[in-house]
Amino acid sequence: MLEFLLRRVLQAILVLLVMTVLVFFGVNVIGNPVYIFASSECNQACLDEIIRNLGLDQPIWRQYLTFLGNLFQGDWGLSFTHGVPAMSLILERFPATLELALAALVLALGIGLPLGVYAGLKPDSPISKLIMGFSMVSFSVPIFWIGLIFILIFSVRLGWLPSIGRGDLVSVFGLFEVSFLTWDGLRHLLMPAFTLSLIMMAMVIRLTRAGMREVLHADYIKFARANGIRERRVIGVHVLKNILIPIITVLGMEFGGVIAFAVVTESIFSWPGVGKMLIDAIAVLDRPLIVAYLIFVVVMYVTINLIVDILYSLLDPRVRLGGNAS
């Protein structure tokens, strides 16, 4: 187990290092931020001053080494536009994204699981067909399109829900602020979270249904039923326990993707998360912020994968014994 862990962590660090190179060099060949910031009246001397101020007068490899050196000291660089440490910007805005993604996760499980169980129990009923059709459509629909259709219907035509931003915030233990504890916050959260949850929801429905059908035929369920354990308990405890493992795995791996896909949802709903920040940063070529965010995502992704691996190995001893990571 220890060796397995150690190897995974080393691999993760290597991945991180390679990604810093790719990200840094990739982002630093795009356009030239100087001309975004410079006023139209800015002459050559003024341009040179900006170039120097942004540190772009250094050769790129030196810029990279400086960046890497600072990174090891916990300094992720200074955003060009905000003039504020990139990491503090990311941390300031990440809770909003996390809240959105978690809300989407809760919706996906809360709606997807019962639907999937039903479809698995009664595969031939018309309602199940409808559920599966819904999952197919929500898996296929481009989320940017559905997001704007939602705004048009629920916000503009019906006027039920606000279309932009995050609602009133409540501080929890003075540590971080959440919006889902206020009515206003919930109203703001509903549309973006639902939009973001659609793909996950479709996956939950399918995985649950597939798992149900497989597990229902398993011997131990038959035994449980034969032993007179109530159907509700069979489904609620024994079946669900078994199908949750693959669902947790898939959702865990998808979760990073959901946070990434929040880029789209956040731009549509003006949600003040990191995804929106990235799009804004790209628009003005705020290179340090783009780089910091991308590396932040890699760190997060790698960490999530690591956690999923470990959780999985705890839930399923065969993985631990096998010891093969891939």
Binding site: G31, S39, A45, L148, P272, I279
Partner: protein, 536 residues
């Protein structure tokens, strides 16, 4: 405008109402967010418009960008090279400290010293005319230039004044965004900056000028056009900038909304390049054309005549553009009344092309940004349609501004002495005459490019005409307004009859708001809370 009741949220799920008192709150939905509240950090207009609620300049610009007294009550040249500024007395900073000449000197010194990491401080305004400054007494400051220099006041209108006691020793930008150093003299006081979500300011009760009316002003960034309009429609915000042009006719006839309109200082134009061979200009088989047809003024005139500027206005801009042949808008110092927008005349255009030796036209690729100016990409496409119709087969390439501007300015290979390396052969771009007068517009986009003097800064096609240059250079040194006006008008007339560039229109800016508000819009596109009032 709904009068909102201020709610205090206690840090639990139970909401407790504080004694409710009516507050006048204005919520503004803006296209882009202010990234920094340090007024010396960038020149992005999204930043400036929020900063101007907190910080002021010695010279203000009125709604048509003409200089009016700000923190200075008066100014005048006392000799060829010295301007005297008399400062306003009795002004205090938001924290109660008095404002005086030391703050002015400190602000200028801060800019000249350079602000580490700042992507675009307005310091270059101080370099124009090599300005130096001197405190004469607590309320008098002298600005000294290296020669006769007419536009000192216009330049100072771009230089926000910060408080010495609040800024010295603070970290640039960081401490401003936290509010610690965001202490100005303006009509509003910093309240909260929640990145990506909202920036709020509250009324400064001891402001020296007119009552700014609103108790609290909230800026909310909504980048997506249609989402911004949706936010206005469902009452999330009270007023928005840049309403989608397609919705303008409907909004204007809707009794629930009011639309305010002003012709902006921003010229939208096509900029031809003058190299002998252009990468993006070819014959019908794709071979480079030699010489570059764009060097022939008849071709440029043909291209101009081929564009139906009124169709662009009506079909794309929702009526919100002012077709033009000028470079500065009507009402600005330097606008030439007798230059009118070219009529739409495809027949004459084709005749001119034939006369220039291209009866069968040629092929060209034109570029433009797609997220910078109102409907920029759609205008480029329309221009391509018009040109294709007279036989100049036009391809379109539009790109985000982050790529467009670096390529426009420095993207190409070194191909021609004195040309440096702009990339495109024909591009759509814009030029804002921020100071309300034409001196730096003529110098910027019509004068020959000269890295040393800063002439032709925005002349990315590298148009060069000695008659224009002579007048432009002289105008920059002429203090007498009438003489300067004559020089600027002559330079403009020479260049525009030569089709140095192909003007399309001045942007017309619109704001949409709920009908219980009224707004006096400004030419420099900024949304300032005190210019929005409840309707009578």
């Amino acid at each position: 405008m709904k009068t909102k009741v201020s709610l205090a949220l206690v840090a639990t799920a139970t909401m407790v109402m504080t004694p409710a008192f009516a507050q006048e709150v204005l919520t503004i939905g803006v296209r882009s967010e202010a990234a920094s509240l340090d007024p010396h950090w960038t020149q992005l207009s999204a930043d400036l418009q929020v900063q101007e609620h907190i910080f002021e300049h010695l010279v203000d610009l009125d709604t048509s960008s003409q200089p009016v007294p700000g923190l200075a009550v008066s100014w005048a040249p006392i000799d060829e090279t010295t301007w005297e500024f008399k400062l306003r007395e009795g002004v205090s900073w938001h924290d109660g400290e008095p404002f005086n000449a030391d703050d002015v000197v400190f602000s200028f010194d801060r800019l000249r010293a350079g602000i580490d990491g700042a992507p675009a401080s307005p310091a270059f305004q101080l370099e124009k005319g090599s300005k130096t400054w001197e405190k004469i007494d607590d309320y008098t400051v002298h600005i000294i230039t290296d020669g006769p220099y007419p536009t000192v006041a216009e330049d100072l209108a771009m230089l926000p004044i910060v408080a010495e006691h609040a800024t010295a020793g603070k970290t640039a930008s960081v401490d401003f965004n936290s509010g610690e150093a965001a202490i100005g003299t303006g009509p509003f006081i910093f309240e909260e900056y929640s990145p990506g979500n909202r920036i709020s300011v509250v009324k400064n009760d001891s402001y020296w000028g007119d009552d700014p009316h609103w108790d609290q002003v909230v800026f909310r960034p909504v980048g997506e056009e249609s989402a911004r309009l949706a936010a206005l429609r469902n009452g999330d915000v009270d007023i928005i900038d840049y309403p989608p042009t397609v919705d303008l006719p409907q909004l204007e006839s809707d009794p629930e909304f009011t639309v305010s309109t002003v012709s902006a200082d921003r010229l939208i134009y096509m900029i031809p390049s003058y190299r002998h061979v252009e990468d993006f200009v070819t014959d019908m088989d794709g071979n480079p054309l030699m010489p570059n047809p764009l060097r022939d003024w008849r071709v440029r005139k043909a291209l101009s005549l081929a564009i139906d500027r009124e169709a662009i206005r009506d079909r794309i801009m929702g009526g919100a553009s002012l077709p033009t042949g000028n470079i500065v808008p009507p009402g600005f110092f330097g606008h030439v009344d007798e230059i009118e927008a070219d009529p739409y005349d495809p027949d004459q255009a084709q005749a001119l092309l034939a006369e220039a030796g291209y009866p069968d036209g040629f092929m060209i690729t034109i570029q433009g940004p797609n997220d910078r100016y109102i409907n920029d990409a759609r205008i480029v496409e329309a221009v391509a349609q018009f040109w294709t119709r007279i036989g100049v087969v036009t391809e379109v390439d539009t790109m985000p501004r982050n790529i467009f501007f670096s390529e426009l300015i420095r993207g190409g290979d070194l191909t021609f002495p004195g040309f440096d390396d702009p990339k495109f052969s024909m591009a759509l771009t814009g030029w804002g005459t921020v100071a309300g007068e034409a001196t730096y517009t003529v110098s910027g986009i019509l004068e020959s490019y000269n890295a040393a003097t800063g002439g032709g800064n925005g002349n990315f096609g590298r148009y060069s005409n000695h008659d224009v240059d002579a007048r432009s250079v002289l105008a920059k040194k002429t203090i007498d307004r009438d003489e300067r006006l004559a020089l600027l008008e002559e330079a403009t007339k020479i260049a525009m009859s030569d089709y140095a560039l192909i003007p399309l229109h001045f942007q017309v800016n619109k704001w949409a708001m709920s009908s219980d508000l009224e707004h006096t819009p400004r030419t420099n596109e900024r949304t300032l809370a005190w210019e929005v009032k409840p309707a009578e």
